[in-house]
């Protein structure tokens, strides 16, 4: 299993209604995107991290592993903002870009934590059958559910094939690595189509008529959780607006000796 999905299944919020978790995560994501990066983004990021590591029970190790690749993109993507190009070969340091880079990194970091808040608490299997209520055609949600059902098996196959190839020195040289990778992709392709064919035969024997509807467990959203989420979001927005005012008032105060 993938680490985030495994965390969602093992976490204490596993049986909460996906809508409740979406309200919290998407609400915080909205705050991260729409409030000023300082202090709004920072407050949102801290709130999301506190909820993730606290009530949502995500192990810090999983969180650190999940943020590694996106943070690398954010860091690399912010570097060009620190230089300015005025013509061919004419590049200068742009100290004015530091504020844009910091704001972008802050907003993206906070938004990433909000995304993880949803991803690490809500199994995709709970989300996909409910997507048609948002207007997604049933055929598309069913194809998405089939992809989800098959991808773990195929990932396991790919991992097993890679291990076997590596044990036979299949990744020793650049050319051998390409040949091995092609073999890995080919094996996964053949297994994917074989699995589809077997499912097709199995469904035909059970009188398949074109619908793959599955029973979704009826869960009622918790009013207390929703109320808590609304209060938390209101608190973040209020704090983001009040903090600069409070800071300005404090800095405007004369030194104690002058009072």
């Amino acid at each position: 299993m993938l680490a985030l999905d495994a965390a969602a299944y093992a976490g204490p919020w596993r049986y909460r209604h996906p809508g409740e978790k979406a309200l919290l995560a998407v609400g915080l994501l909205g705050c991260a995107l729409l409030l000023p990066a300082w202090p709004g983004g920072a407050l949102t990021g801290l709130t999301a991290a506190a909820v993730l590591l606290g009530p949502a029970g995500l192990p810090p190790r999983v969180l650190l592993r999940a943020v590694r690749a996106p943070l690398l993109f954010i860091g690399t993507g912010c570097l060009p903002m620190l230089v300015a190009v005025s013509g061919p070969g004419s590049v200068r340091w742009a100290p004015e870009g530091l504020a844009t880079a910091a704001a972008t990194a802050g907003r993206a970091g906070a938004a990433l934590l909000c995304l993880l808040l949803f991803a690490a608490t809500t199994p995709l299997a709970d989300v996909l059958p409910r997507l048609h209520r948002l207007g997604v055609p049933v055929a598309v949600t069913e194809v998405a559910a089939l992809i989800y059902r098959m991808l773990f098996l195929l990932l396991d196959s790919a991992r097993a094939v890679r291990q076997a190839q590596a044990a036979r020195l299949g990744y020793r040289t650049w050319a051998a690595a390409h040949r091995s990778l092609a073999g890995q992709a080919g094996a996964v392709f053949v297994r994917a189509f074989d699995r589809a064919r077997r499912m097709e035969e199995g469904l035909a024997l059970r009188g398949y008529t074109g619908s793959l509807a599955v029973v979704t467990e009826a869960r009622r959203p918790s009013a207390a959780f929703v109320a808590g989420t609304v209060l938390l979001l209101a608190g973040v927005v209020l704090a983001a607006h009040l903090l600069p005012t409070a800071t300005a008032l404090l800095t405007d105060l004369p030194p104690v000796a002058d009072r």
Binding site: L33, P137, V140, A144, A158, A182, G183, A185, G186, L212
Partner: protein, 229 residues
């Protein structure tokens, strides 16, 4: 190259959703049509989407010595056609955001446009053009996959340049900056992905020709007069 969650300003993120939507809706309509006419196609599409996800998770060695992941859009578009790939690609990008935290929900529109719209259409167009001009399967597949990868990288660089224009030279300078910083990994990756895709297609023509015929990549052999009798 996925644009990370929250990296784009909200207005631009919304604009990329608006740009991608018609392509995804068109793809979804053709998928619904296909599934209605042939309910078994749903299982094949599910297998194709899962294959596309796994393909993007493979580690490909880069010329620079590092490891990267192929986009898989070239192979996907050649095997399953560009409109279908726009829907499958959108689903795969959503899965990558929610299962791996690669990409994001707010940047889904921008990522869909580069990786599920432009990449597959470039791959499909180059592949069809190559075959029509009499190019061999290997040459057409190589250019389709490599150019799809390059197109994806160019569009992502343009999206970033639009969001963060250079203080001195505006969009053009920013495009040069973002283009050159990501070129270090993306250009060797495009060549690697082109080679890999050729090897995969060659392998599949040997081990799985029936599936390729089912997908229309290989022509069905003409029945011999003796077989008809």
């Amino acid at each position: 190259m996925h644009i990370a969650e929250g990296y784009l300003p909200p207005v631009q993120a919304a604009a990329w959703f608006a740009v991608s939507t018609p392509f995804v809706v068109h793809g979804a309509r053709s998928l619904v049509h296909e599934v209605r006419a042939n309910p078994e196609a749903k299982l094949l599409l599910g297998a194709s989407g899962a294959f596309a996800f796994v393909l993007s998770a493979l580690k490909i060695p880069s010329v620079t010595g590092s490891c990267s992941h192929p986009t898989g859009v070239g192979l996907g578009a050649i095997l399953f056609r560009a409109p279908v790939m726009s829907v499958l690609g959108t689903i795969v990008l959503l899965f990558q955001a929610l299962l791996l935290a690669h990409g994001g929900l707010s940047t889904l529109g921008a990522n869909v446009f580069s990786m599920a719209v432009v990449g597959p259409w470039v791959a499909y167009g180059v592949y069809r053009l190559g075959r029509r001009l009499g190019g061999g399967l290997g040459v057409s597949v190589f250019f389709a996959a490599a150019l799809a990868d390059l197109a994806t990288y160019c569009v992502t660089s343009a999206q970033l340049a639009l969001a963060f224009p250079d203080p001195d030279s505006g969009f053009v300078g920013a495009l040069a900056k973002f283009g050159s910083i990501f070129a270090l990994t993306q250009i060797p990756l495009a060549v690697s992905e082109g080679l890999l895709t050729v090897l995969v297609i060659r392998l599949l023509t040997r081990v799985s020709p029936d599936d390729l015929r089912r997908l229309g990549i290989l022509r069905r052999p003409a029945p011999t007069p003796g077989a008809v009798a």
